[in-house]
């Protein structure tokens, strides 16, 4: 077996932590394929992601998605240098499908496997180049704000493959979940993000002053970089009920715009504060909620005002996808990290500090046989 290409490794990434079956293929920092099969439509009638429905969809989508990614990239599976897979955090049953599949693929091909952290994968998406040559590589340290239906996290990334620190996260609902719940209050179907966005377009964001969670002085001591959206959602519900009880019409556009403003405001206030507190002059955004136009607009305004560099990866790489997992796997390889051992599992609460799961101990240089890149016994 030839030693692994550590200069420009060809990596296939498998992502199944929520409702997207993502298969990506990268060569070093070059994106070759990014196939995403979403089960979102199946969740719509339930008003949110149903873990069992998501896991069943992953099982059915995996093989077609891998085949499509291979076709899109023009590579052959046997050309791969490694497999990367999301080990966590995410929905346990959904993660397990990807983990089982990734191990089988690695063994069938005789390739090493890298079990990686989904959240760090969102940051890793930024290294990918889509062909344009004018983009400069991400510099470190950076603050990263990751916002989706499953997570709302603020990270301090000193190094993508070796030093990521969780500064804060949501203590209740994820921001995307809050959009879904408020959409329901306003009688809009799932997923709520695009609906709220559309309704808010004609609304006044200052019409109603909804609370900014965990922003009071006493909260700031204990939860300086944490988020809370459950109180905001309740506050919107109360406001709407009050109107309904009084027999008055609900100004849906104003409610949507004011709610969205509250979410965007608190997200960016805390993110920009983290940049200032840590003396980090750059902010990276990631996660599906980055699709929200108002969030991107306010991010540009606030980072401009604070003199920060803002990075927003292409939207196709912000939502959950396999390319970001492949990209993080490739970065681990290029930085000399050993593959994971085969006994890792799915960890629904994997801490963000754990960038790679179950890395194999470094193999001493002088030892015949196994080159350290291949699981023992596979030829």
């Amino acid at each position: 077996m030839t030693p692994m290409n550590r200069e420009n490794p060809l990596v296939l990434g498998i992502e199944t932590s929520c409702d997207e079956t993502g298969i990506g293929i990268v060569r070093g920092t070059t994106l070759l394929a990014n196939v995403i099969a979403s089960s979102m439509d199946e969740h719509a009638r339930y008003g949110g992601v149903v873990p069992e429905v998501a896991a069943r969809a992953h099982l059915e989508e995996l093989v077609p998605a891998i085949e499509a990614a291979v076709a899109e990239s023009g590579i052959r599976l046997e050309d791969l240098d490694a497999i990367a897979v999301t080990s966590g955090p995410g929905l346990a049953g959904a993660l397990m499908v990807g983990v089982g599949a990734a191990k089988a693929l690695a063994l069938a091909l005789g390739k090493p496997i890298y079990a990686v952290n989904h959240l760090v994968g969102h940051v890793g998406a930024d290294v990918l180049r889509l062909g344009e040559s004018d983009t400069v590589p991400l510099e470190y340290p950076t603050i990263a704000l990751l916002v989706s239906g499953g997570h709302t996290s603020l990270l301090l990334v000193r190094d993508l493959t070796s030093d990521v620190e969780l500064l804060g996260e949501t203590i209740d609902d994820a921001a995307g979940e809050a959009f879904d719940k408020v959409a329901r209050i306003l009688g809009m179907p799932y997923p709520g993000g695009p609906r709220i966005d559309a309704a808010a377009a004609t609304g006044d964001p200052r019409a109603i002053r909804f609370p900014r969670g965990l922003s009071r002085p006493k909260d700031m001591d204990e939860h300086r970089y944490d988020f809370s959206f459950s109180g905001l959602k309740t506050s919107v519900a109360r406001w709407v009920e009050h109107r309904e009880d009084a027999g008055e019409p609900v100004p849906v556009s104003d409610v949507a715009a004011s709610f969205r403003e509250a979410v965007v405001d608190i997200l960016l206030t805390k993110a920009v504060a983290a940049c200032a507190d840590y003396g980090v002059p750059r902010l990276l955004l990631g996660g599906g909620v980055i699709a929200n136009a108002r969030l991107r607009q306010v991010a540009i305004e606030r980072t401009d005002a604070a003199g920060l560099t803002l990075r927003i990866p292409p939207l196709s790489l912000c939502t959950d996808n396999g390319a970001m997992i492949a990209a993080l796997g490739a970065q681990l390889i290029m930085n000399g990290h050993e593959p994971s051992t085969l006994d890792f599992g799915a960890d629904s609460t994997l801490p963000v500090e754990q960038i790679q799961v179950a890395p194999a101990p470094v193999v001493p240089a002088v030892r015949g046989g196994n080159d350290g890149n291949t699981p023992a016994g596979v030829t």
Binding site: R56, L62, I66, G100, A104, L109, E241, V378, T379
Partner: protein, 211 residues
């Protein structure tokens, strides 16, 4: 030679050969660690059998019935291993492998295979015996029932000799696939046998938050 994977109960992996029988078989009974152990078990079986991926002619997947989460791990692994190895996937009903193993060890005649479906329910399959090729003859598609229902007089297979199985042998699964192929019979459908709808509740009307 076939690689066989079943996670409908615990995790079981085997390498089998039509002429030489089971070359290697390893399992872990734990029903909570499928994703962890499936990789090491595949690796161990291939190494112990001294078989390379290129020498395999197919990959057998146990399609259940089995509780949701675990069952999927083995099917995902079997499907994707088959894709990676560029070999056909051979789907086999896990209950058929349980029956096949029991007949192979000397049982004859009718047999009711019962496995745990969790939530105080069981999966069952009824067989009349084996055919001329030694393949179990199934009387009905696998079912899901409360344990007491199998004891009711109106249960069509009441009184049949019953085999309660806590594990599924990937060795038996693989040998059954070899025999099915040799006899020119069709394999099972490539569908996971959950026998239950996803346990999701449709949203009810909005609950009030204010008094």
């Amino acid at each position: 030679m076939l690689l066989a994977i079943d996670t409908s109960a615990g995790t079981s992996v085997a390498v089998v050969d039509h002429a030489r029988g089971v070359l290697a078989e390893h399992g872990v009974a734990d029903t909570m660690r499928h994703a962890e152990v499936v990789g090491p078990l595949i690796q161990q079986c291939l190494a112990e059998a001294g078989v390379t991926v290129a020498e395999l002619s197919g990959v057998v997947g146990g399609m259940g019935p089995g509780p949701f989460t675990g069952l999927r791990v083995g099917i995902a692994a079997a499907r994707v291993f088959a894709l990676g190895a560029a070999r056909p996937l051979v789907p086999v009903v896990s209950h058929d492998a349980i029956a096949f193993g029991h007949y192979r060890r000397g049982h004859t005649g009718p047999l009711l295979v019962v496995t745990d479906a969790r939530r105080r329910e069981v999966y069952w399959s009824a067989f009349s015996g084996t055919d001329a090729a030694g393949l179990p003859e199934r009387l009905a598609v696998p079912g899901l029932a409360q344990p007491a229902a199998l004891l009711e007089p109106d249960f069509p297979f009441a009184g049949m000799i019953r085999l309660d199985a806590a594990t599924v042998s990937a060795g038996d699964l693989g040998l059954l696939a070899e025999l099915t192929f040799a006899a020119g019979r069709p394999f099972a459908a490539n569908d996971a046998l959950y026998l239950r709808s996803p346990d999701a509740v449709l949203p009810t009307t909005r609950k009030r938050v204010s008094n």
